[in-house]
Symmetry: C2
Subunit: 411 residues, 2 copies
């Protein structure tokens, strides 16, 4: 965390500052999960190979295990001849060794017999009489062979900590016989919605002025994408008393708290007041130099990061993606975030932007052209219509039509 002296109540910060300095120290405990439930989970410690992999020298081709020296100088015009003294079966130990002038038939993946130091591909051999092959190409020692420790040596790190497990990582763990992994527990992210106008999504008929809670459903999905476990704290009225009480009750069981704050200035201030009373060190920033999303609050109370989002769904989702998801990942031990889908495109029109503020502009992309989707920040349809977004950096005054932009794509 940055210097706590700077945690004034109405400090406005840039997104870059938030990403660099609002890095709560909280980490979830680790737990053991079976391999088939470990996809995208974050290893809490490195995993090492308990023994060499594959564990024995294997043939990489169908052919004959030989002593490489026996093939030196052979060619199509001047083949070498070897006696075939046996055949290796898959999954079985070779019964005989390869001695000078002799060869043993090998399936791909079979165990290299003692005495052999290369495998000649079957394509470069012919059985000229029963038990005898001719070889028309020489092989070098090691050719056609995977060494016993070529995939991993005993004790080699096969999985590092902090990077979510990918499909191939699970394969490597399975190969090593590691059937459970120590991973960080998913951070429990308690999501509160606030607002006298907000009613549950399941409300069939709305009274005038009521809106259903769209933000909680979308935030829960973004939390899951960031490796968290979303828990719904409830819809709170625009009243700091009950909110503070609910936040306080949620603290012990939460790794992160997210509040989609009321949308008017007054209720936002009430949210800030409630958060400020939760515990030390308290509010880190109240106001983020981003559009949409200025009324964002970042705090850490009694060891729990608290993220106060703007009241309208679209701004809330934009900000959570930018600064909330990284906090959830961090608390969950993820130090190597997975890459995001993106594409380069040409901007269809000029975009204005104020300096000192990061602008997030939703776009549709087709045929390499990014077309901004406009609409007031309250509109969710702007997000559902968009294929992704572009970021206009804080130092820019805008972007020209035709300029090449990086579009972060929604997956």
């Amino acid at each position: 965390m940055a210097d706590t002296a700077a945690r004034e109540f109405f400090t406005t910060r840039t997104v870059a500052e938030a990403l660099a300095a609002f890095r709560p120290g909280r980490r979830t405990r680790t737990e053991s999960v079976p391999l088939h439930l470990a996809l995208r989970r974050v290893p809490g410690e490195p995993v090492t190979a308990p023994h060499p992999l594959p564990g024995f020298p294997r043939s990489t081709v169908d052919g004959y295990a030989v002593r490489a020296a026996d093939t030196y100088g052979v060619s199509e015009g001047l083949p070498g001849y070897l006696d075939v003294t046996g055949a290796v079966s898959m999954g079985a130990e070779p019964q005989t060794a390869v001695t000078p002038g002799r060869a043993i038939a090998m399936p791909t993946g079979g165990v290299i017999p003692p005495g052999a130091d290369a495998v000649v591909m079957i394509e470069y051999t012919a059985e000229v009489m029963p038990g005898t092959i001719e070889v028309v190409r020489p092989v070098a020692p090691g050719e056609g062979i995977v060494r016993a420790d070529e995939d991993a040596g005993a004790g080699d790190e096969i999985i590092g900590r902090g990077r979510p497990l990918r499909p191939q990582d699970l394969g490597m763990l399975a190969a090593a016989g590691v059937t459970s992994v120590t991973v960080h527990a998913k951070p429990v992210v308690t999501i509160f919605s606030t607002g006298d106008e907000v009613v549950p999504a399941g409300t069939p008929a709305l009274k005038p002025g009521q809106v259903r809670d769209a933000t909680a459903a979308a935030l829960a999905a973004l939390v899951a994408d960031a490796g968290g476990e979303p828990v719904f704290g409830g819809i709170m009225p625009d009243d700091p008393g009950p909110l503070e009480k609910a936040l306080r009750a949620a603290l012990p069981a939460s790794d992160v708290i997210v509040i989609s704050a009321g949308s008017s200035v007054g209720t936002r201030d009430e949210t800030a007041n409630a958060v400020a009373r939760l515990g030390e060190p308290g509010i880190w920033c109240h106001g983020l130099a981003i559009k949409p999303g200025k009324p964002t609050l970042l705090a850490e109370c009694a060891g729990v990061p608290v993220i106060g989002l703007p009241g309208n769904p679209r701004s809330a989702l934009v900000v959570f993606r930018m600064v909330g998801a990284p906090v959830v990942r961090l608390v969950g031990g993820c130090t190597v975030p997975p890459p995001e889908p993106s594409t380069r495109a040409r901007l269809s029109r000029d975009l204005a932007s104020a300096t000192g503020r990061l602008d997030v502009v939703q776009v549709r992309v087709s045929d390499g052209v990014a077309v901004p989707v406009f609409g007031v920040s309250a509109l969710l349809s702007v997000l559902t219509t968009a294929d992704g977004y572009i970021v206009i950096p804080a130092e820019a005054t805008g972007l020209d039509a035709g300029s090449e932009v990086n579009v972060v794509l929604y997956a």
Copy 2:
């Protein structure tokens, strides 16, 4: 499907042909799932808004609801004056209408009262005496207001079929009061491993020549990523009889069958023989112009796509990603696949490649440079070391050092 006459036993196809023409018609049934379980699920039908959204005209700012005409011509130097006759509360119906010369205080998100056609931001007003404000900026009709149907009109399609649901889509559905969605059932993908040498990942101590089943664990993860439900069919010996029997038993309960075939030519042929006897129309290709991954088999038997993968884990995973995952997505109703993470990078060295064959090269990426990770195709560590892969197109003879390449990144 392409012409079935072309389904010869050893037909080799290009990856482009496979993606364009191996498109089994099977689709999973649809089912209803609650919204909180619908992330990334594939809608089986479009969803329309049951009523306009937000459903009432809302203020987008804190300020005063006015008749726009009452503000025309006002300025800092010549403010207009309006009587404030009330205040709208969040989530409640306005108690009074706005009449000429009058204004009503509005919170962001509140219901626009009858008679008002704009909202003046509070920043451009001042309460000059109790009950009277001055207004220093004019507003146009519609300013500061979201129309009742601006996010969606009644009957508007808010979610299309075929695209996996994203976080913002769940938000939009919640806003519309749609708490369950009709989605395609996850395709059941039965995964078979074959090979006399293959033993379960949980085998603590290996006998000489044995390897643990790495492919099944990784394939299950790739299937899940493609929206499928992996089911493990078991490890089959290199014997076509039991394999055919097991495949036949799995057919009725499978939407897709994936076999990581034996690695030697003989056992691959046995797999093909077993698949060929499963049902019509049968094998579509046996051999794919891709490296690694040539010995790939694509078939459709009794309505079930069957994908035979090369025996070594790395080739199997590369091929499944390229041609298997698209089939799983398709069967699961996904017609708009989510974007993949990728990045542009410069190649660190020359790469040779044979024409007529697509080459998949694993790379590490740092500082914009893609460095190929080499190793025989049996090595899983090549995949776990890599950050992603580049594809050398079939028509290329290679890539020069320094050329710009598109790296598909592993997430």
